[in-house]
């Protein structure tokens, strides 16, 4: 009966209830988006790091992978040291750089990775053939479209441009063999991959036996941190980054995002709370006579409180459910805008939907609905019956 009466009081002022529900929905959408933003990038980054099964990364000292153009010397020596550990399963040395491809009169620049195709974790193969021979090159769709080339075409590739002499350190004819999708690549970034020794050769002496990054897969059940500590002890000249340390680093860099999300999320929750409190308080004030009559005919204070709280919770929950949908739509739209930001990996999501985030938002809204109902419910339960009836009669 209490739920029916609560529903009745909400239906009585349909337009007002709808507006309040809409307001709560907007606040919920904002809250959900902020929760998604606060945790999404971190989770997305973690998923990205773990997606290819590499647990540890070695970067030039003091940097994150591909943060700078710096490289690590002594690839062969490092590989030899790493292979002595029984806990390490696979090592992928990656050399990054840029290439220039001449197509007729046009010159096209692209990012390039030099990898060992047998152990690489930088791209997913899409079509054609992989870089099984030293004169093979694979490219992403964006570069392929710019080149207008087909598999089997020979490309004139140059690397190591020196702006002083306006010359390249190396030039080579490479055969386009396949299309790939770079996992860590930015959107709309032309990119290609060749074998590491090919890129070393193109780079001249300065690039020989160097890598921008090592990615390490460890054996199942082994603690990545113990392997990380072992590598640090063996090769102190590099930064050794486990997934946990990478996330900690990202966390630190994203702390502004999280603070912003926390503040905006709190504001949305508070706005939703105020909205529901205001609506239910106005409704209680309007129904003072009716509530006094209910109390007069024997309805207990507890039941009056329950009815009013149900009204607050109902508005909050209906608004929250609508807000979840609205929040997801908004997040998708904002994500598409932010993901197109230059230089960001395509696989990174700013707003990552996690059921836990949705439940958190719903839980917070339900709790705020209960809290929002408490003040007007207390007012309703405290109405002096005789005085309210007298005022109602005078009115």
């Amino acid at each position: 009966m209490r739920a029916t009466l609560a529903q009745a009081s909400l239906i009585r002022h349909r337009a007002r209830t709808m507006l309040a529900v809409l307001g709560v929905a907007v606040a919920t959408a904002m809250l959900l988006d902020m929760v998604m933003l606060a945790t999404g990038m971190r989770e997305s980054f973690r998923e990205l790091l773990l997606s290819q099964g590499f647990d540890i990364r070695l970067a030039p000292k003091g940097t994150l992978p591909f943060d700078t153009d710096a490289t690590i010397p002594g690839v062969r020596a490092i590989m030899s040291v790493l292979r002595t550990s029984p806990d390490i399963r696979e090592i992928s040395a990656v050399l990054g750089g840029s290439i220039h491809i001449q197509v007729g009169a046009r010159g096209i620049s692209a990012a390039v990775l030099g990898v060992d195709p047998a152990v690489q974790g930088d791209y997913e193969f899409v079509s054609g053939r992989d870089i099984t021979v030293p004169d093979a090159i694979v490219a992403n769709d964006y570069l392929l479209a710019k080149l207008g080339a087909r598999f089997g075409d020979t490309l004139s590739v140059a690397a190591g441009y020196d702006p002083q002499t306006r010359t390249y350190s190396g030039q080579r004819k490479l055969v386009l063999t396949g299309a790939v999708r770079f996992i860590y690549g930015a959107s709309e970034q032309p990119a290609a991959a060749v074998r590491r020794e090919t890129l070393e050769a193109l780079g001249g002496g300065a690039r020989r036996d160097r890598a921008s990054l090592f990615m390490v897969r460890i054996r199942k059940g082994v603690n990545p941190d113990s392997v990380r500590n072992w590598i640090l002890a063996q090769i102190p000249t590099v930064s050794v980054i486990s997934v946990a340390t990478a996330i900690a680093e990202v966390d630190q860099r994203l702390s502004y995002f999280r603070q912003l999300a926390f503040i905006l999320g709190s504001v949305s929750l508070f706005v939703g709370f105020l909205l529901v409190t205001t609506l239910v308080t106005v409704s209680v004030n309007e129904r003072a006579g009716e509530i006094a009559v209910m109390r007069a005919i024997g309805v207990s204070r507890t039941h009056v409180v329950q009815q009013i709280v149900i009204e607050g919770v109902a508005i909050s929950l209906v608004g929250a459910v609508i807000g979840l949908g609205l929040g997801l739509l908004t997040a998708r739209y904002l994500n598409s805008i932010l993901s197109a930001f230059p230089g960001l990996p395509m696989a990174i999501d700013f707003f990552l939907f996690q059921p836990r985030a949705a439940w958190s938002a719903l839980g917070l809204l339900a709790a705020s609905g209960i809290l929002a109902g408490i003040y007007p419910a207390w007012r309703a339960a405290s109405l002096p019956i005789a005085e309210s009836l007298r005022r109602e009669a005078i009115a």
């Binding site: 009966m1 009466l5 009081s9 009559v293 005919i297 024997g298 309805v299 204070r301 019956i385 009836l389």
Partner: protein, 228 residues
Amino acid sequence: MTVGAGSIVSLREVRRDYALGAERVHALQGVSLEVERGDYVAIVGPSGCGKSTLLNLIGVIDQPTSGTVSIAGRQVDAMSDREATSFRLHNIGFVFQRFYLMPILSASENVALPMAEARVPRDERNARAAELLAYVGLSSRERHRPSELSGGEQQRVAIARALANHPALLLADEPTGELDARTGTEIISLFHRLNSDGTTIVVVTHDEDLANAARHKVHMRDGRIVDA
């Protein structure tokens, strides 16, 4: 305090003062009243004489500043809110000038509301609501909402609601105040029938016809009973 077996309402030297801004209003100034079980009493007097205040005290929705109030054999003037609420639910039926039916509930659901509060099983309260609506002549209007009923019909539903939990006492505050003369007469007849069937009624009214229909009239002036 137990009162005489025949008295259902007993007030002794009851005073009720209100604070009105800086002033103190003496709404009731030493009122004593006995109402016998099965009686039908009309409290009359000019506006502001304390009629409604007296009815509120009898209805246990207000407490006196001093004096004692006993209803149906129980002293009610110092009950806690919880006790008073339960007492009203099971012993007192209220009828108000403005009906105060729940707009979203049907006539039958409105009548069943106090029974639901008293935890009467659903089947039992539906049957009782149907019986009461038949008693007030609204069998055919059980499923109608208040907005689909005339003023007189709404007041009859309110009377049925007041009788839901078999109250020892029916209190009515200006029950014909919002009704036209013809509909008012119907309500007066219904009150007469209720009293004939054994219900004790105390009514506050300005309506002479309603007051004349009562067995006894209590005249009030300036917070005192001047003629009973």
